[in-house]
Symmetry: C2
Subunit: 453 residues, 2 copies
């Protein structure tokens, strides 16, 4: 009798060792100098899928390649499309890592490495769950398409065109994605929403060149001061985004969902202490979890202007740049947000400078009803693996492709993630609990078994 | 009969060549990696002063050395202290220079190099004016102390202690400084004021580390947004500095000076076009020249926060930094300004972040009456050298040591400069007109002759 769970238990050490090889490849998609590494990660992944018994190929795109692997030996069983990404965020600031970002290090029951949680670690759990079935039963309980991209961290510019051009090959009954977190340690979770994203650069230009702040200061606008005024104009005193029209399409969530959110075991003071901030802030009238899941945001991601080295340089800079992004909630649309931001900048742009808005990327928000047999199977699988029934939760982050999958493939998306709050995604010292890596593989193996039963 | 002017005319090519050797030494005082170069510049300068016939020495300080050179062979004649600096501003942004900053290049009658105008070029004019007298008369018309420091661009931290400890050696009847500009090409000028400076860094700190802007955005304050709000709070809608008490000590200038300023040949539209800005801005109620000379400012000199590379990184940064400086006018005092800025930051600091103010350096403003025999001699010398009577003008920049010289040595300061507006001080493509280098040497030789007559 096939025993996929026994197989998992006896091969966990090898699974981790393989994951560490994956994590050692610095597949930073946003940085051109890592293009070769990103491609190497795709090849490594395709080989592991082939080893398991899937038919894998590397599909070139105008950017980083897509890894596509298939297995269709279960006629009559449903087809599951597993989506993940093998690219990672840049590791900087490097000097804030306790161990090198691309040398996986185990400390305190955690795997520390860039991509451990987002998303190499979670993607690899699926592959090992498939291996457990294949190695013990010689087949999979469901038909499978694995779709792993290398451009998730730069907005997936080539993924939707690929999906549109391959609708038949990607046809499926369910999309399963593990690129999110559990609500808390030991508490598995199913996602009911994701926020969208509008990411911009704002460029402010002043004089023909940098100027001496003594010889010119006071007579011309300073792009640094002008940029600060523009950014300050993006919020009001209530913590709301102060761009006219910005809330027009924001959904007022139903009372039931807000009650479910309120029932979750969240402690503001513990959260504040864990983040080491003097106080929690945000949009007035909403709780912390609501601010994270069902309300939009506006955050500075980067600022650069003038002289930033040591000591004093009395320069009046001639340009200033900000990276500013908005997390969006249903039913906001990134293209509408771009229009609103453009209008706002025209209205508030200080005299004496020119202001340019550059859209870097955008993605739509997503919302789901956690109902039907696939969600029931996921609930059971998570409860069996973790010993606790999963809770419903929202997602503050963005996986724009989820909406596209649902629209293009006509299949619902099931999002179950295994990282934890505080895992330092997109930050130094990213980590994944070893326990979640192991229980996650069990949960996924159970899920595929239930879906094929 | 001694002919210093003839000597200057026949040695101009060598003077320029020597200056270029001086300019090739990257004596950037603010950057530790150039400490050796800064010392080399001091040694080079001391050797040139020795060559002319002065007794020169290198005086070590806790920072960069002071070059001190003396000649006291004119008993009964006045003693002139010539002050200048051999250090320069950092050259960045390097990619905006048309020729390398430390390889002097002649184009269109200009000498392009970091330090050509500020201040190596101007300091070296004095040395060549002294050489013209010494080479042709075997002596100088006045007693001379040359005091050249290597820390002017970092706030002269060791100069005042040096002056206080050497009052007898530095005793003089007049301090002469060339570290400013003429009002316009062909129009020599005498300075009646300089602005002071208060230079700060503002550090804003949020969470324990950078965070994922999706997983945390909306629930904690963003240091980038907070810093922008703080900077925006520094000005009101009238272009005035909005720090309570900031204008309490600002002198209302006399009608005569404001009329002299209004009489100068300044054209706002030409100024705007030269700077390539869409409009001139500044404090309401004052002209451009008044905004530059007799009104204080607040300028961002640098901003740094989060991710500033290419593409999108969805990070919620945990810190943000601004360099912000204020140009001060009589009778503002930097230490009082520090108190006011601290109070203001306490009042406006957004919730959820900690804000730290770091004072980088400060210097007092200066104001002079252009009266007495030394100013008369300077007027005559400039008119003979340039063929035009000098105009009185204010200075927007800061040379904090001027006030200290006057207080410590009890001698008036005479500021006559030879760079021009648009010379790109503290910016890429700094330049000095070759014509001014030459006529400046003539003017200074004439000045020393008249002072000794």
């Amino acid at each position: 009798m096939a025993d996929p769970l026994g197989f998992i238990e006896s091969h966990l050490a090898r699974f981790r060792s393989e994951l560490y090889d994956f994590l050692r490849i610095p597949s930073v998609s946003t940085a051109g100098e890592h293009d070769g590494d990103t491609r190497a990660a795709a090849h490594w992944l395709a080989q592991r899928l082939t080893d398991v018994g899937l038919t894998a190929e590397i599909v070139d795109t105008p950017g980083h390649p897509i890894v596509l692997a298939e297995w269709s030996g279960a006629p009559g069983a449903p087809t599951v499309l597993i989506y993940g990404h093998y690219d990672v965020q840049p590791p900087d600031p490097l000097d804030e890592w306790s161990s090198p970002p691309f040398e996986p290090t185990e400390r305190d029951g955690r795997i520390y490495a860039r991509g451990a949680a987002d998303d190499k670690g979670q993607l690899y759990m699926h592959i090992k769950a498939l291996e457990a079935h294949m190695a013990t039963a010689g087949s999979l309980p469901v038909n499978v398409v694995v779709l792993a991209e290398g451009e998730e961290e730069i907005g997936s510019p080539n993924l939707v065109p690929f999906v549109q051009a391959n609708l038949e090959r990607l046809a499926c009954d369910l999309v399963v994605i593990s690129d999110t977190e559990m609500f808390a340690e030991g508490l598995p979770s199913l996602l009911f929403s994701l926020r969208g994203l509008s990411y911009f650069e704002i460029h402010v230009k002043g004089a023909r060149s940098d100027l001496h702040s003594g010889n010119y200061g006071g007579s011309v606008a300073n792009p640094g001061n002008a940029l600060a005024a523009i950014i300050a104009s993006l919020h009001d005193a209530e913590g709301r985004v102060a761009i006219p029209g910005f809330y027009d399409d924001v959904l007022e969530w139903d009372a039931e969902t807000r009650e479910q959110i309120a029932d979750l075991p969240h402690d503001d003071e513990a959260y504040r202490q864990e983040l080491e901030v003097p106080a929690l802030t945000g949009e007035r009238g909403f709780t912390t979890l609501e601010r994270l899941w069902i309300r939009p945001t506006c955050d500075v991601n980067g600022l650069l202007c003038g002289y930033t080295g040591a000591g004093a340089k009395t320069v009046l800079p001639n340009k200033a740049m900000a990276k500013v992004s908005f997390r969006l909630v249903p039913s906001q649309n990134p293209s509408r947000v771009t229009e609103l931001v453009e209008e706002h900048l025209r209205a508030v742009a200080p005299k004496g400078v020119t202001v340019e808005l550059v859209e870097i990327h955008g993605g739509r928000p997503w919302k789901a009803k956690l109902e039907g047999p696939a969600f029931d199977a996921a609930r059971e699988a998570l409860e069996e693996a973790f010993g606790t029934a999963p809770v419903p939760m929202g997602g503050g982050g963005s996986i724009p492709i989820v909406v596209d999958f649902e629209e293009q493939l006509g299949a619902p998306a099931l999002l179950l993630g295994f990282s934890l709050p505080g895992c330092n995604l997109h930050a130094p010292d990213e980590w994944l609990p070893i326990d979640n890596f192991e229980k996650g593989i069990v949960a996924l193996a159970l899920l595929y078994g239930k879906l094929g039963a």
